[in-house]
């Protein structure tokens, strides 16, 4: 009897050992506007599916997630990760802009994911747009999973154009005219000047008040390139000068406030949604943000019907007639900490959250665009008027380069724009200043005269 009891005990312990399930916690952190929070809330449902898969495979692991939403500026977000990483307290998965991949990969903060992309290719990644894979590569390796993308349109106020005497047909055709290359940046300035002079708006244009991809996009718009044929980083002087002259002209014509880079984000959005600015160089996500954040002093958060009635969007016009319009995508990605103890589980979770259902859920909630072809044909995505309207803009899209030294170009470019707008430097002097700054930061950079 005693022997039987011991045997039973041993069997029980073995059974517990065999069937014991270990629950591991995976930390996830995201950032963005209130409209973007699906970037991490999607994981709530994804983890259930991942656990079902693990159970079906008799895996001894189950996943529990801990999510954090960071509210603050980009520099704070980066600083927080660096400090947390050193202390081993960083999240396993983190939402990041693709342009942060070079420094994170170079410093060894994040894992290369080629192995996992290959592993889950047939179910999750086979139809990711190839240009997005380019955006997440550094030194030939994939360091992140594309999470969303977007276009950066030129928003315009339809109600102001109506007051300028434009017909509904002319307003409706305006984006098409821009796409066809019939409207130039100078034409926009002329329209804005007319609206300002007639007292219809306070500002002709508003652009972002902080450093960002927009300024690089304008450099691209004026034909600027950042790489030569051999793949070396370059800056072209002529397009740079034209870009700065464009900002200078907007200020001189009284359609852009000279203190543009000192105006708060909130005041800018408020001015545009209240119809106090004719044009706004924004992003597709702003369409959703205006529906979530109460920028309008009377309406609060905008109903989408108000947006369709009063706000239009188009590609950014070329500088010359017949030119090609432009937009820019800034893909958001998920990166994985190189400290993570469970890379297999983390990547399973990423493969699940990259399924069309979650991508579409995020895109519709946040005004972003999906990263996979199979998500782009999802019924609710196809039916959505806004995403259906902005998706074709991707034909004209550009991205910021994934280059470690690029920030050393981006920062002085923004500084030069600021100096020109504030009247501290002429465009010519700003170009000289920019070149000195860039050459001191990247000695071997080629400045194409």
């Amino acid at each position: 009897m005693r022997k039987f009891g011991v045997l039973l005990g041993i069997l029980l312990i073995m059974a517990v050992g065999i069937f014991a399930v270990t629950t591991v916690t995976i930390k996830i952190e995201g950032v963005g506007s209130p409209a973007d929070t699906t970037r991490i809330t999607n994981f709530g449902d994804a983890v259930k599916i991942a656990n079902n898969i693990l159970a079906a495979c008799d895996s001894p692991y189950r996943i529990k997630i801990e999510t954090t939403w960071f509210q603050g500026g980009w520099d704070e977000y980066r600083k927080e990760y660096i400090l947390a990483f050193k202390a081993g307290k960083e999240p396993d998965i983190r939402a990041e802009g693709h342009e942060d991949i070079p420094w994170m990969a170079d410093a060894g903060y994040i894992l290369p994911l080629d192995k996992y992309v290959k592993k889950y290719n047939d179910i999750a990644y086979y139809d990711v747009y190839p240009s997005l894979w380019d955006a997440v590569k550094f030194n030939g390796k994939i360091y992140a999973i594309p999470q969303d993308t977007e276009a950066r349109p030129l928003y315009f106020r339809k109600d102001v154009l109506r007051k300028l005497g434009w017909s509904e047909e002319k307003i409706a055709n305006f984006p098409k005219e821009i796409e066809a290359g019939n409207v130039t940046l100078d034409d926009l300035i002329a329209i804005a000047k007319e609206a300002v002079n007639k007292g219809l708006v306070e500002y002709g244009f508003l652009h972002r008040p902080s450093n960002g991809g927009f300024f690089t996009m304008m450099y691209y718009d004026f034909g600027g390139k950042l790489f030569d044929e051999a793949g070396n980083l370059i800056v072209e002087e002529k397009p740079l000068l034209n870009t700065l002259q464009f900002f200078k002209k907007m200020v001189d014509e009284g359609v852009l406030p000279s203190s543009m880079t000192n105006i708060s984000w909130r005041s800018i959005h408020k001015a545009f949604v209240e119809g106090r600015s004719l044009f706004w160089f924004g992003g597709t996500w702003h369409w959703a943000e205006w529906q979530r954040v109460a920028y309008h002093s009377k309406l609060g958060a905008l109903p989408e019907s108000y947006e369709w009635e009063n706000i239009g969007f188009a590609l950014n016009p070329p500088p010359e007639k017949g030119g090609k319009p432009i937009t820019m995508s800034h893909p958001f990605t998920y990166v994985v900490s190189s400290h993570t103890k469970y890379p297999e589980l983390v990547n399973l979770l990423l493969a699940v959250v990259s399924s069309p259902k979650f991508l579409v859920n995020h895109a519709l909630a946040s005004g972003h665009l999906v990263t996979r072809a199979s998500a782009a044909i999802y019924p609710s995505y196809v039916k959505n008027k806004f995403v259906a309207s902005v998706t074709p803009m991707l034909k004209y899209t550009t991205v910021l380069p994934n280059n470690l030294a690029f920030k050393k170009i981006m920062d002085p470019l923004y500084g030069a724009v600021q100096a020109v707008e504030l009247g501290k430097l002429s465009p010519e002097k700003a170009v000289k200043w920019f070149e000195e700054e860039v050459k001191s930061a990247i000695p071997n950079i080629k400045i194409v005269k």
């Binding site: 506007s33 209130p34 409209a35 973007d36 929070t37 699906t38 991490i40 809330t41 999510t67 954090t68 939403w69 960071f70 509210q71 603050g72 500026g73 927080e80 400090l83 947390a84 050193k86 202390a87 307290k89 960083e90 708060s264 984000w265 909130r266 959005h269 979530r292 954040v293 909630a365």
Partner: protein, 317 residues
């Protein structure tokens, strides 16, 4: 006649007499101060000082009033005048705050973290600095002056200058991302100041009192506990208030050394509510800020009486 004031003319008081009168009044006032009596001012001086203090206080008072009113207002006319009463801004008391689809942590664990930090700093500082202040005030030992100088030097370092060094110390001690780590940093950096403050209070307690207690049979510890400590209430109130405020309002170390949202305090929580300013809900921000001020005000109200009793005098044993 010589020495007499002519009839009808104003009596001329010699300047020397006026100065002497002023000196006398000044002396009397100082004597009143030393005796711990309330100093009397002339009616005119009272009115002038009241006007000056009112003018100085108005902006501060108005900003607090604005904060309070906006926390109960659904809308502010031109951002100044409250238009509609609401409790919606105070919803964080009974439900977690939502940011888009994300639910923030409830305010209560965050308040508890803040309270724990403030109380730990207060209790530790009072305990350590009352003992060290007593030793520095009463004992003559080798290195006493140097210790005093060093404590002042440590206090002179701004916290920002020490951030990287503290980060590495906490990293080595595996105390990063823990409230314990921040508590230790706060306590160690605040103790020199509170020791110096409390030493000043000990210096003001006459030796006679201690000697009397020794004569009555008390040892050092009993003298400190039963004789000195009760006389030290204003000093303890002062350092308690300063250390509580310092712990309650701590932002920089929490912001730098804490990475987990569950461990944040009200100061960093407020910062996260502001975020990039773009999405800030001013009503909610005002309500959380008002809530954040309540314990500080309460603490001040309960300790101000003790703070104002700052006179000492020898008594017969």
């Amino acid at each position: 006649m010589k020495g007499q004031t002519p009839r009808g003319a104003t009596q001329v008081i010699p300047k020397r007499a006026i100065y002497s009168l002023k000196r006398k009044k000044k002396k009397e006032r100082r004597a009143q101060e030393v005796r711990g009596e309330a100093v009397t001012f002339s009616r005119r001086n009272e009115i002038i000082s009241t006007i000056i203090m009112t003018i100085i206080s108005i902006p501060i008072f108005l900003s607090y009033l604005w904060l309070f009113l906006s926390s109960f207002s659904a809308k502010m006319w031109h951002g100044l005048i409250p238009l509609k009463f609401t409790l919606h801004n105070w919803r964080f008391l009974w439900q977690p705050i939502k940011f888009g689809a994300v639910m923030h942590t409830s305010i209560w664990p965050i308040t508890l973290n803040t309270l724990l930090l403030a109380l730990a700093v207060t209790i530790s500082e009072v305990l350590v600095s009352t003992l060290s202040g007593y030793a520095l005030s009463r004992f003559r030992f080798k290195g006493r002056v140097m210790i005093q100088g060093m404590t002042m030097l440590l206090h002179a370092f701004p916290g920002v200058a020490l951030l990287i060094a503290i980060y590495y110390v906490l990293y080595t001690m595996r105390l990063l991302d823990t409230l314990w780590g921040v508590m230790l940093v706060k306590i160690s950096l605040e103790i020199p100041m509170s020791t110096n403050i409390i030493k000043g209070f000990f210096d003001n307690i006459p030796w006679d009192i201690e000697w009397s207690s020794f004569v009555d049979g008390c040892n050092r510890w009993q003298t400190w506990r039963y004789v000195i400590l009760p006389l030290l209430k204003p000093g303890i109130a002062a350092i308690s208030l300063f250390s509580f405020l310092s712990g309650w309002g701590e932002f920089l170390y929490i912001y730098t050394f804490i990475f987990t949202s569950k461990k944040q305090t009200l100061a960093t929580f407020l910062n996260s509510l502001i975020g990039e300013f773009k999405f800030v809900d001013y009503g909610l921000l005002s309500a959380v800020a008002t809530f954040y001020m309540i314990p500080t005000l309460l603490f001040f109200i309960f300790t101000q009486k003790a703070l104002l009793q700052m006179s000492f005098g020898g008594r017969k044993a």
